[in-house]
Symmetry: C2
Subunit: 153 residues, 2 copies
Amino acid sequence: MKKKVLSACIALALGAGAGYTTIVLAQAKPDVLVKQRQAVMTLQGKYFGQLAAVAQGKAPYDAAAVQRSAGFLDNLSRMFWDGFDPSTKDIKSRALPAIWENKAKFDENAARMENETSKLASLAAGRDEAAIKAQIQAVGKVCGACHQEFRAK
Amino acid sequence: MKKKVLSACIALALGAGAGYTTIVLAQAKPDVLVKQRQAVMTLQGKYFGQLAAVAQGKAPYDAAAVQRSAGFLDNLSRMFWDGFDPSTKDIKSRALPAIWENKAKFDENAARMENETSKLASLAAGRDEAAIKAQIQAVGKVCGACHQEFRAK
């Protein structure tokens, strides 16, 4: 397929013309990076929230729903580290300068997060309710450790 | 672990106290649902944007990167249909009333979207560059068909 046609199809497909195209071509812009990483956190809130409610006994343990949320959370935990680019330092957000002052530690947290959500996704494919609930807590701890050090209250 | 302790751990873990807890316990609130589904679209824009750039020849074909983006997009395509709840009708957004007036057709679009992103994710695991690029276009078409009918310009 010719590039022009494909181009036109995609522009039409996105149905947003200039707006979307701007995002596509300028996704490295600092404000876009911040918006994208905040979108990830919004969705982490959605799915971790559902899981935390189960771990807290506020929602019933539904194995399929937990597996679904855990899978999404594991994907989300891999979606946003590239959003913490030094170019975003001056964009207003709750990200603290500590992120770029101590990038090695921040990256350690990132690796821990991915590791814990990956474990949770694996466990959630099984049916060991107690282990799953404990692992939800482990994920929460790694969220909290990172927020404590790298996110404004 | 006692519920109270776990509760406290999770609250601490989230590091946001009341704010996050509100989201957790009230995720069915219409404004939160809208924020969450918009977050999904922001991230679909991120990953579809990367894929579209490859399909358009504006970015080089990097098999691993394409597979990663396609996997994320497939997950994202499953994350937001529950956000189109009738309770969100009156929240300002680009969602058109047609969604709730013609829910069956909207749901058909949802199923098509999941189907096309699933195909893309499968293809992306292989290395048939032409097929992958064609499927990126197929995904774009289904985005566009839905936007055309159900999203304000």
